[in-house]
Amino acid sequence: MILPLSLFAPLALLPVAAWAVVQPGRRPGLLPKASEAAALVALALATAGLVQLWHGGPAKLTLLDGPIDLSLAFDAVSITMTVLVAFVGWIVMRYARTSLDGERREGAFHGLMLATLAAVLVLVQAGSLLVMMVAFGVIGVTLRHLLLFYPDRAQAQRAATKFAWVWHVGDGALILATLLLAFTFGTTDLARLSSAASGGLPWLGHVAVAFLILTAALKTAAFPLHGWLTEVMEAPTPVSALLHAGIINAGGFLLIRTAFVVQASPGAMAALVLLGGLTALFGAVVMLTQSAVKTALAWSTVAQMGFMLLQCGLGLWPLALLHIVAHSLYKAHAFLSSGAAVQAVAAIRRPGAVAVPSLAAVMKSFGLALVLYALVAALFTLIAGPKSPQALALGAMLIFGVAYLVAQGLADAAPMALTRRTGLAALATTLAYFSFQLAAKEVWGAHLPAAPSAGPLEWALIVLAVVSFGLVAFAQALFPLWAHHPATTGLRVHLANGLYLNALLDRMIGGFQSAKSR
């Protein structure tokens, strides 16, 4: 068998990362260019791997077998993430090449970024939990250094401390989960764990899954320990882009990689739905109140990662992976282009007042959106066969979001041409996500468990999720009618503060202390 080239992607980065040790300072000669070139080579290797997979099928590289199991995986899931991370990595390194020019620790920055990127590339190709554990640990260390790129900033120190706490507690949880799984099943190999778990989990296995979920929750900045993510804008923009596009979703990737094990624990799945759903709605509502663009984007990430956990909990694993890919690309772009926010806000004001939909228009839009959903769902059922209740429920939650687009076009003040355009946009959006979801199922479905058949617990969760998302969507469409009511003043204050969870965490870990007194 030919060795999959994508496995070598991390190695392409390390020589240049090592070079940075020699030239850590300002304007380090060709290093910035070499950094981008290395990232591009990594992307080329990843893409070559994709081609190999296409022709040769999945494979596995075992470096060390036995109790200390070091192996790399090569399949549709790993190659997706490898190409994604390598792509975002190239974009980010290219950006950094220009934007970091002239910084005092320019060379060190490139080195740390490349090292982090290499660790992420190992993580997403891990064949065993042990490899993942190590990669997570390395990411925690290098990322902390990046967050402290301006070490004199008190806010950076606070953010880095908070990050390190949460991240390394997550590492601890992963170590426990790994030990428990190794103890239960005698292996940390992901493939073997998957097949072993199909026979059900002993109680220790359930505990292990609980730790896996704790790991994922901490590393995806889920409620209530999301605070570290919303405060790490203290490092240069490329760090934020890499963090939000390539690192924050690693927790979700961990769950996807251990999907067969996790799904064997219905309680864990329920916890994921509850935690994910709560985080999604919480993050999304807080995001509405944030006026600083990067901060709003960070809250958006909290919400999107929550939504991804919710998808995991519903057993919609391919969709969760799709969400990771889609979110990464969007969020990388959003961070890197956040300098355009001044012009973007000006553009919002340029066409004059926003047409506010009335209650009747909102009701109508929800009706229309549901009709649209029924039609498109029927169409896709004809093409691709029936969907699981979970998938249908997720579709309904998303269509509530689309209803807002329709509602804006139905406002009394909206001209006909605008109504037509928003209507078309709604249709295009619906078709686009149905198509992407179909594609996701085709590409990754074979490697991931199907959604569990819905029992009472599953149904209860589905109803809860649909109803709560529906209510928030409804409130969101009516938003201008109540957002400025005096009765909501306090609510807005509390939400803008993220319900003080971060302040409480600060108090616990001394985040309010002066730098010198800590």
Binding site: R26, F87, I91, T98, S99, D101, G102, Q155, M233, E234, L281, A284, M287, L288, T289, Q290, S291, A292, V293, K294, A296, A303, Q304, L322, L329, H333, L336, G339, A341, V342, A344, A346, A347, I348, R349, R350, P351, V354, M397, G401, Y404, L405, L418, R421, T422, A425, T430, Y433, V472, H484, P486, T489, V493, H494, N497, Y500, D506, R507, Q513, S514
Partner: protein
């Protein structure tokens, strides 16, 4: 209780409120980044000199308004600054604290002056005593409130509009639990029980803080500095309101808010009372410079004298004036540029294309007081210096159907934007549109998104001018540029703008005379006006005859790419040959300019310098006005052919054609003032970046469409970012106060100064240097507060 229970008396009340007003005036306005212009950060200190202002800022901000001594020492060591410069600066200094002789001064250069930290606030003292970082907490919670309150459209859920800042903050702070969680128990109740008007809150807090009449002003100023850019934004609101003839209380509101914090913290940490009383008595001392600050300002003055000396010797060199000495033939092209220092380079390059090309310099709005409605909007943007108010409106409208379609498209895009941002829809957005961002990433990373400046339809005045008004407006504009006879076949009116992507500071690179917008609109309106047969006919009565074959052509100089694009807004078949020649010249001039600029931009080559405009990661798309140091109002003949290195504002002016000195008065009161604001903004951002600079671009977090914060938030940052004044290894802007050189009789200049006390304050307190030019020589220097000295022209002794 050591503080007397109360000191409230009618005199005290009026004194404290006056001090609050004075402190408000000490804050310079900061224009929102959407259309930002340079503002003199020392706008509130023009009544005092640099040393006194330095003392003031040392007290209220811990900032020094001069460079570190090591920088001066280096310049002396490199002989850029000579003993003569130092001696002249020493002699000119009027402070009794100055060193007795040159040797003493030079000895001082080798030792850094004592750094003086700002006087602490109650929050600072509290932090020292309790270990809780109160200043950071205030910055954070106040910043979060202010971000929402001043947001212009970033967040979907903004606070209820229409409330004054003080009332809005009280409504916020009575709910915000963060201070209580951080340990300031009872803060919500304290806010709820605070007086309900800002004035009474200020008085109550000032009383409880034991502020005396004398201590109040700098104590208040200190607190406003603590609010950073938020205070400057509020000062801008006041500025705008005053321009409209109204007023705005936001700045006083912010002071009241900050005082309520001080009041609460003093009550919370009674152990700091003694220390605080000491601070109050320090605030009571009159603001006066220390000997160190005096030495620093002498050194700064010496550096400026060295620059003036070099400029003088450059001017004194007989310029290659062949073109002027040969009998005057009709020029092949006349091109009017903005006085912006970036124009100097391209003017020189354009003149090099053909000896019969003439260029002139004038303020880039060409004297038209325009408001502009861009294509697709009814919002009016002011395209004129911020000292003035628009008096006419031009709109760039496409034909009705196209205009309507574009507006619908913009609204649909906005609806989709809200869909992307809103709570539940954001999930649907990511699932449906997220994957498409892969393509966008590639496009933007490779700079394929293009960065052309918008090409709106030709702006038309909404209210047509009468024939007389057309002629009067045109005559005024032509007179201001000194272009009243000898017209070429093509007269180019060049506005300037800067194309760039993903840069929050984009408007800072545009034309300052056009209010932070591109100068294309003003140029096109003026060209249309000057080509109007009515105007041409009416100009005769103003004594200006424009030949019938003269075509006025607007153009846009893109300062990041150095392309100059003419707008052919009317058919001009007779000028086809002229236009094609023009293209060649403009292309050649752009080439030379790019070569010259590439030398100064790190990592740039003449071939790649224009790519910076479309690079979304670029923090230094160009140098803007960095380096600006001098303003010359003189005939171009005096400066043509001289390499002024893009550091000089050039205003064309011929005093012999200005019998009543009306044009001179206009130049001194408007363009000179604007140029001084720009220079002093660069000065402040370079010498005291922490106090007057915009911070580090790499961690900028754009806020509410108005400005930036660094990192997680807190204080709004105003002024220029570090990357705009520093190239990574050294300052790209040599911080100098502007040297204004005017070719006009000294009495005429003095007369104008006498009539404009605000203007003469700038010169008398040394914020600007003033020189009278005579042919190619500096005839006299204006000595601050002492009138002219015709001491032998500087720089010619050798």
């Amino acid at each position: 209780m050591l503080i007397p229970p109360t000191q409230i008396s009618p005199d005290w009340i009026s004194a404290v409120l006056n001090a609050a007003q004075t402190a408000c005036r000490a804050i310079p306005p900061a224009f929102p980044l959407e259309a930002t212009v340079a503002v003199n950060p020392f706008l509130g200190q023009t009544g005092e000199d640099l040393a006194t202002a330095s003392a003031r800022y040392a007290r209220v901000a811990g900032a020094s308004l001069t460079r570190p001594r090591a920088d001066y020492a280096a310049q002396i060591a490199q002989s850029r600054v000579t003993d003569d410069d130092l001696a002249a600066a020493l002699i000119a200094c009027r402070s009794p604290l100055k060193p007795a002789d040159l040797a003493l001064l030079k000895a001082k250069v080798t030792v850094e002056g004592l750094a003086s930290p700002a006087l602490p606030t109650v929050a600072d003292l509290g932090a020292e005593n309790t270990g809780t970082d109160w200043p950071a907490l205030i910055a954070k919670t106040f910043g979060l409130w202010a971000a929402g309150h001043f947001d212009r459209g970033q967040a979907l859920w903004s606070p209820a509009p229409g409330q004054g800042a003080f009332a809005a903050w009280r409504a916020w702070a009575t709910y915000d639990l963060t201070p209580e969680i951080a340990g300031l128990t009872g803060f919500c109740a304290h806010v709820a029980a605070a007086p309900d008007s800002a004035e009474r809150a200020i008085l109550r807090a000032a009383d409880r803080l034991g502020l005396t009449e004398a201590a109040s002003e700098t104590a208040f100023h200190r607190l406003m500095i603590d609010l950073g850019g938020w205070a400057q934004h509020a000062r801008w609101l006041l500025w705008q309101a005053q321009l409209e003839g109204g007023s705005d209380a936001t700045l006083m509101d912010l002071l009241a808010i900050r005082l309520i914090w001080e009041e609460a913290l003093l009550a919370h940490t009674p152990q700091i009372q003694d220390q605080w009383l000491g601070v109050v008595s320090a605030h009571q001392m009159p603001v006066a410079p220390t000997a160190d600050q005096v030495v620093d300002t002498i050194l700064q003055d010496a550096v400026e004298r060295a620059h003036q000396r070099r400029l003088a010797s450059l001017l004194a060199r007989p310029a290659p004036t062949d073109g002027q000495q040969t009998p005057k033939t009709r020029p092949v092209l006349q091109a009017a540029f903005c006085i912006d220092v970036r124009s100097e380079v391209i003017r020189r390059a354009l003149e090099a294309q053909n000896p019969a090309i003439e260029t002139v310099g004038a303020a880039g709005f060409f004297g038209l007081p325009l408001g502009h409605k861009a294509h697709g909007t009814d919002q009016v943007a002011a395209h004129l210096p911020v000292l003035l108010k628009p008096a006419m409106t031009a709109s760039s409208r496409a034909p009705a159907a196209a205009e309507q379609a574009d507006r619908i498209a913009a609204r649909a895009a906005r609806a989709f934007g809200r869909f992307r941002q809103a709570a539940v829809s954001s999930f649907a957005f990511v699932e449906a549109a997220g994957p498409l961002y892969g393509a966008k990433l590639v496009k933007d990373a490779l700079g394929w998104q293009g960065s052309v400046l918008p090409q709106d339809p030709c702006p038309q005045l909404e209210q047509a001018l009468s024939r007389a008004d057309k002629a009067a407006t045109a005559a005024a504009a032509l007179t201001a540029m000194g272009l009243t006879s000898g017209f070429a076949r093509v007269v180019l009116l060049v506005g300037h703008g800067a194309s760039m992507v993903n840069n929050p500071y984009k408007s800072a690179y545009q034309c300052g005379a056009c209010g932070g917008h591109s100068g294309a609109v003003s140029a096109r309106v003026l060209a249309t006006l000057l080509n109007d047969p009515d105007t041409r006919a009416g100009l005769q009565s103003h004594g200006i005859t424009v030949p019938p074959d003269t075509l006025f052509l607007a153009a846009l100089h893109d300062t990041t790419t150095d392309t100059v694009t003419p707008f052919v807004d009317i058919p001009c078949p007779d000028h086809a040959a002229d236009l094609s020649r023009l293209d060649d010249w403009l292309g050649g001039a752009g080439h030379i300019t790019r070569e010259e600029r590439a030398r100064h931009l790190p990592g740039a080559t003449p071939q790649t310098v224009a790519n910076r405009a479309s690079n979304w990661a670029e923090t230094r798309p160009e140098w803007g006005l960095a380096g600006c140091a001098a303003f010359i109002a003189a005939p171009r003949a005096m400066t043509s052919g001289l390499d002024l290195a893009g550091r000089t504002f050039l205003h064309s002016y011929d005093w012999q054609a200005d019998p009543g000195f009306a044009t001179l008065q206009m130049i001194l009161t408007a363009p000179v003032v604007v140029a001084s604001w720009i220079t002093l903004q660069y000065y402040g951002s370079a010498v005291a970046p922490a106090a007057f600079g915009g911070g580090n671009k790499l961690i900028h977090n754009v806020l509410g469409g108005i400005g930036v914060v660094e990192g997680n938030g807190g204080r709004l940052r105003c002024g220029l970012p570090w990357q705009a004044v520093h190239d990574g290894t050294k300052l790209a802007h040599d911080p100098l106060r502007l040297s204004v050189m005017v070719a006009a009789p000294q009495e005429a200049i003095t007369n104008i100064l006498t009539r404009h006390p605000d203007l003469s304050a700038l010169f008398d307190n040394g914020w600007l240097h003033l020189f009278a030019l005579n042919e190619h020589h500096i005839a006299a220097r204006y000595r601050p507060g002492q009138g002219w000295s015709d001491e032998p022209p500087i720089g010619f002794a050798a």
